[in-house]
Symmetry: C2
Subunit: 424 residues, 2 copies
């Protein structure tokens, strides 16, 4: 069904995945003498850093997602295919799809990561993670339904179980979710119920290590913790989750009854990496060479979250700026090769890290600067508006944020999909 675009006489670059890595690689190849095919099983590029805002009813899915083929519309050497790539045959130089295959001269693999439950896959239905739009809408549904169910039940114990929210994992995603949930309960929903007081909802953030935001400097972790607590989030560190079910979470020495548990604790590489036949790290990521190719195959690049790239003894973090830098570097190396030049090694330039906690609350670890509070939050707002793709999306998001800032409202408080979970 799918054919290689043959006879054009130019090298064919196949990019699998249109996240930050894949999309920026395609863009970087727009003037290269190659034909590019971008394969993704979604029709949209997702701006994942703002996905938690969809999960917490602040933004709409289409505010942070744009059709891949629209983004690449004017790039004439590039074709976009909606297809699900499942494996790579590096010998035959083919990408296997669920319904066909596609040959390549160069491959850029950028399929990213999914949630990891550390071998407890049965926890997944009870504690959804946050990776796709569907995930975000499911979390939104669960959070909003929890308040509706609490409003309806008369048993005070059940009620407090519905009003207990647990977030497992205090990395940036867990911190963002916890902060947003606290704001929803204390502001957006505060006056909308008759039988319950939403401000009595309890938001519990659990972390296995000894502080929130463990990849940030300790003093910023401390500031983040204080900002979270000011919003009403209960933070507990050095807590290991030993069980998750529909009624709550079990810790080593404690049981917490909660109808809503969200998972932000770990990632596992996309399983397609296993078909490459090269060494993977513990999370299943591909240990790439200094030029971002895989060992023994100079025509296969792995970039973004799927790549484990070590620099100065440290792993480059799984963040958008790293994926974008790697994408541009891989595209540059391919362009060099096509022109008969040698590959050059990649070097990551760390521009800093941001984590947002809530309204006017964030931390920023920039190169020479550590910020927190309003100024860090403003930095976060500006950087994220700047990185968002599409003029229209920027305007809408800017409007939604301004509206939310002044009214404390959430614009997308819809329960869609199943409503059966309401039954207690």
């Amino acid at each position: 069904m799918i054919s290689h675009p043959e006879g054009r006489g130019r090298p064919h670059v196949v990019i699998v995945g249109a996240g930050f890595g894949g999309l920026y690689a395609a863009r970087a190849l727009r003037r290269a003498p190659v034909d590019v095919t971008v394969i993704d099983r979604r029709n949209h590029h997702l701006f994942q850093p703002l996905l938690y805002q969809v999960a917490t009813a602040a933004l709409n899915p289409s505010d942070i997602a744009a059709p891949i083929r629209k983004i690449l519309r004017w790039q004439k050497n590039t074709t976009v295919l909606l297809a699900d790539a499942t494996q790579v045959d590096v010998e035959r130089k083919k990408v296997g799809l669920t319904d066909g295959e596609m040959g390549y001269d160069y491959l850029i693999l950028a399929t990213g990561v999914t949630d990891s439950y550390f071998g407890h896959e049965d926890w997944a239905p009870c504690a959804p993670g946050l990776k796709s739009i569907e995930d975000a809408l499911e979390i939104r549904r669960r959070v909003l339904v929890a308040y509706e169910a609490a409003e309806r039940t008369e048993d005070p114990e059940r009620r407090s179980t519905w009003l207990q929210f647990v977030i497992v994992g205090a990395g940036p995603t867990g911190v963002e979710l916890a902060g947003a949930l606290a704001e929803i309960s204390r502001r957006a929903l505060a006056r909308d119920f008759r039988n319950i007081d939403p401000t009595q909802a309890r938001i519990l953030l659990l972390e296995g290590l000894d502080r929130v935001l463990p990849t940030f400097p300790p003093q910023l972790s401390e500031k983040a913790r204080r900002q979270l607590e000011r919003l009403g989030v209960e933070v507990r560190v050095q807590k290991k989750v030993t069980g998750v079910d529909e009624e709550g979470v079990s810790l080593d020495d404690e049981r917490i009854e909660a109808k809503t548990v969200l998972w932000a604790a770990g990632v596992a590489a996309s399983p397609i990496a296993q078909s490459l036949g090269v060494p993977l790290d513990r999370a299943g990521r591909v240990q790439v060479m200094p030029d971002l190719t895989i060992p023994g195959r100079s025509d296969v690049f792995v970039i973004g979250d799927l790549a484990a790239f070590e620099q100065d003894g440290q792993l480059v973090p799984g963040v958008a700026p790293a994926a974008i830098q790697e994408a541009r570097h891989a595209a540059g190396n391919i362009t060099r090769a096509v022109k008969g030049k040698l590959y050059v090694p990649f070097r990551y330039r760390d521009k800093g890290m941001l984590a947002v906690i809530g309204r006017a609350a964030a931390v920023a670890n920039l190169r020479h600067l550590k910020l927190s509070g309003f100024i860090a939050w403003l930095t976060w707002v500006i950087v994220h508006l700047y990185l968002l793709i599409g003029f229209r999306n920027r305007i809408i998001v800017m409007f939604e944020w301004a509206w939310a800032y002044f009214t404390y409202e959430r614009g997308a408080r819809l329960i869609t999909g199943r409503i059966d979970r309401l039954k207690d």
Copy 2:
């Protein structure tokens, strides 16, 4: 689980359904000496007249939907419950829910209508209708996937089957969908594909009666048909559908191969009406008395699309203004009864009808005026912005419309949910 709010000593009015009928009834009771409970199985009021714009990727769900409890937040005599009402026991004065029951002193039933396939319920999965947000997202998914699948297939016959869209029923919803699909193919998607030319998509609008918009005056039907054809829609009237399956539709004398079939041909009353034990019309609607109660029960009102109200030998149409007028009237009658006064009969004031076809194309049948083209379209835009609930929603929708008007883009081109239908 659910209890009657007893002991308040005021009559308890239960409203089932928070569409135009239910919501405006609740609002009209805000100062009445009663306690009001609004029951809906959704958490949101949906502005159904714009639902086709969600189905055709122009608007986001939350642009046309608002949480019921947020709308009624400041109305202190009113409680909102997320629950699924399945029957009414008029003897015991109770509404049965899937998980409990609720007693009433007065009942306003406003649960509306669903799609009717005229006894062919097996057609439903092949030809979705447009009643809920889930329906709209499913239609959006099917339409966008059809272009993706056409781009991927190499068989020219399959390709044209994917690019054939059939809409069954040329009432306002069918006309709106057909016009919007034509605009998508000719404008929004025109440059985004490499193997197909989206402008070659065929949009076919089928109608069983002898003209489009049969409830409008014949000269406006004729104008609507011409505007549809100008957009590229093929209109065929007096065509009876005898079969629908995954590969197309069968007519009396013809077979049309099409992967995407949409249903806008008929409505059936919400089944809860059957539990009232009163005469229903052919579509299952309740034949109400002049005061909007049901025969023999002065404490049960039926309003909106669920009611069949005859005036001057004609049925009041199933449109939002009729539901709103009936809602206010039913609320008024309840208020009168509580104050010891008699019910008064309802009289529908027809303010006219509007149907939109596309950009700058519409027809309007106002009291002393028949409009078409740009001026009818402008009327439609203003009326619908005015009727939309919520200042925020108005601003967003206004922005989206202005953006679409000048760029011809569609802002919500996301495929979410299953992607398996892609496999040919």
